[in-house]
Symmetry: C2
Amino acid sequence: MNIYDISKKAGVSIATVSRVMNGNASVSEKTRQKILAIIAETDYTPNVFARGLGLNTMKTIGLLCADSSDQFFSRAVYYLERALRASHYDAILSCTGMELETRAEYLKRLLAKKVDAVILVGSSFIEPVASHNQYILDAAAEVPVIILNGYLKAPNVYCALCDDGDIVSQVTSVYLDHGKRDLLLLYRSDSYSGRCKLAGFKNAFAKRGLPLDPRRTVLFNGTIAQARDKLLAVAEQGLFFDTVIAGDDELAIGALKYAKARHLAVPEQFSIMGYNNSQLGVCCEPELSTIDNQLSFCCSNAVAALMSVLNGKPAPAKTMLSANVIQRGTTTLFDTVRESGGL
Amino acid sequence: MNIYDISKKAGVSIATVSRVMNGNASVSEKTRQKILAIIAETDYTPNVFARGLGLNTMKTIGLLCADSSDQFFSRAVYYLERALRASHYDAILSCTGMELETRAEYLKRLLAKKVDAVILVGSSFIEPVASHNQYILDAAAEVPVIILNGYLKAPNVYCALCDDGDIVSQVTSVYLDHGKRDLLLLYRSDSYSGRCKLAGFKNAFAKRGLPLDPRRTVLFNGTIAQARDKLLAVAEQGLFFDTVIAGDDELAIGALKYAKARHLAVPEQFSIMGYNNSQLGVCCEPELSTIDNQLSFCCSNAVAALMSVLNGKPAPAKTMLSANVIQRGTTTLFDTVRESGGL
């Protein structure tokens, strides 16, 4: 039962129901009593109450992320929460893990809480099989859905992301154009972002008419130590590589530990490019060169688009930002951009 | 205006107001209409509505932390959110920054949202000056307040924390009992936890009747690179030290970078103990020895105590857990405990 049902049952307009709930005196006493009686009889719950009236929303946005303790997600959640608060919205946090079923269930739970919108933090929410994204479309039928670092073309879905494919293609191209051929892409997940990185890597080879051994793209989800062991196993199987482009800084540090285990000098004999510009990258020695995917800009764009939509104004369905390379100690070939500092 | 005010204004009992709102037929039509009219006239908001009736709480807990992108806080928020969700509660996240005024204001905002309880994540919420903690006592007058990693003795306040003072005293004692004298405590904040660490450090010296140069306790809040520079400055000023006990892993990595800048072999010439057992500690070389302050146990204890209180049952006002030392590459003197893995 919501405000529409009440207006129907009372035989009055929605505006009249709203006026009664507001204590507006312009409604006749008879109509007022009738509406109040209907409300009292129903299971009209407080949240529906608030939202249905449109005058007292919960001012709450649902934030879904796989794992808020992850280096990337935790920064995203922080930036988003701050930006939402500046716009006078609260953030309900929901950590879903990686299972599609759990994600869909938690998203439904947030909608039942009558949040004003949801933000999906991270491209892992977008499934490779299109039909598996129905849960996002279902949510978007109820409230605006913002996707951070992923892209899904659908009504009422707004995406803010970094051009992961382009930067990986650029970085790969720099290596190839310097005559390097023994590259390895080590990426974590078959997410939207992961697929873009893979496409960018392949694209750089293809544009130059260079063959790409499929063993040079390694999909691997594990800890730093496990990433090191994975690379040791890959080398053990006879594949030579002297360059790792990593899908995140954890994997890049795994590659650094691999180089150490193999007594390879970094960056002289072995080159490593990280991803995400996380705090991990300034802990190791040499410090990581890494791709800065503009997380704080992505987050502020996401919230700006959301606020526009919530205020009934248009917003771009997709905001795509270009990434920067931050060259530190694990590479030599790249132009340095100014670091934002503070790590 | 809440359910009490309504009952007063209508001249009926709270139970009667509750029955009307429930659509319970056992109330006379005249009384029902009277109550509904009062509700319609007031600014009785939906959340108050829900909570006042006690039958449909928001099932929402406010999580306040200074900075959810911090290594320690982000893991705490993750563990807490998961534990709360398992108990069918949602978490509203609020990142307050470090200013007392902002913290107090955000806490008030959460209470206005009618959360069922608040969890203060991190000991930075507890001010050294007792009167500055009035904002916590005020909150505890309304809802249960849980403090993670800090302690405040007050009604309706429940604390889950690690015995920071004891473990720092133990670690310091191990160094002292091995004849090391040139220790330095590098800690980040004058928080409850920071004060415990300082007391533990001093205590180990005092128990042995050893003098402690006040320059050997350094309070410093900055980045990894700034911590390195701070230690370089301390050494420059003529203080010799060959051991750093750090208040967190960031500071410990700063100490590792200091050792590298000074060409000191770690752990042979220079020993470093980190704190928090964060992912940072397995990124550096050598990997950090670090104090594991049992964060996941603290979080599950905090939520267990909260659920007990919310269910009207007693809970310990203080749950104190002992910490472990995880010895990796930056120290030699400690017994190793088994690592929980997964970093």
